[in-house]
Symmetry: C2
Subunit: 137 residues, 2 copies
């Protein structure tokens, strides 16, 4: 476990969601539109992202607790604690988030997206196209 793999933020979320208590648990439970503001250093990588695209944003849950390995589903302590690799809890050893969103507008390095359940200020570390067929979901 001595290896360290270093990510750098490529962008940041601008959202009305300010605290974890505000955030829906998944994007289909009423998450708002938001902006992702990309760093100028990734302008070329972003060049072909356009309105209408369905993309997966990978975020870094910067307010997560990385020591947590089990959680009660939906915070309900009456339900048995579940290993976090079987949940989408932001609290996990590597606090990466997957967010399937639709690109609504592109304004230079600012990209408007649908249904993003990430908090304001959350770093974004990757953008990938949604694939058809048996791709991951």
């Amino acid at each position: 476990m001595s290896d360290e793999l270093v990510l750098r933020p490529i962008g940041w979320v601008e959202s009305e969601l300010r605290e974890r208590a505000d955030a829906p648990r998944q994007g289909d439970e009423g998450a708002p539109e938001a902006w992702v503001v990309f760093d100028d250093s990734v302008r070329d990588a972003l060049a072909d992202v356009k309105p209408g695209d369905e993309v997966i944003l990978i975020s870094w849950f910067d307010r997560a607790d990385r020591e947590v390995q089990k959680v009660h589903p939906r915070g309900d302590v009456a339900r048995p604690a579940t290993g976090v690799f079987s949940t989408r809890s932001p609290d996990r050893p590597n606090p990466l988030g997957l967010h399937r969103v639709r690109v609504l507008a592109v304004d230079g390095l600012r990209v408007r997206v649908s249904d993003l359940e990430a908090l304001d200020g959350t770093p974004i570390v990757d953008v990938k196209p949604v694939l058809g067929g048996v791709s991951e979901r």
Copy 2:
């Protein structure tokens, strides 16, 4: 861009795929079964992963070129270069891979999965359940 976000490997791939030239471009193009061997430090997080589960593995493409921002689709130089955020190229600023796989067997910290296009020795950094509905894919 001064922030550094540090991932730690939670497991590693054991696969017959040894080199990038061996790897199919997506998991549905004939990727083999493989083992993922998890670190003992994440035993509790892994506790509820079981055969039959569909999961998303997030890998770290440790042989990627992080300076690449545009690639020719499928390596075909006759096709226009495309920003990597619109491709699944492993060469990208943060070389994370998404792999939708099915869990075939669990033997302690060793998990057998279907259709994994990652090379032998590739670090795994997260495991998430596949969600229904409009979740990311």
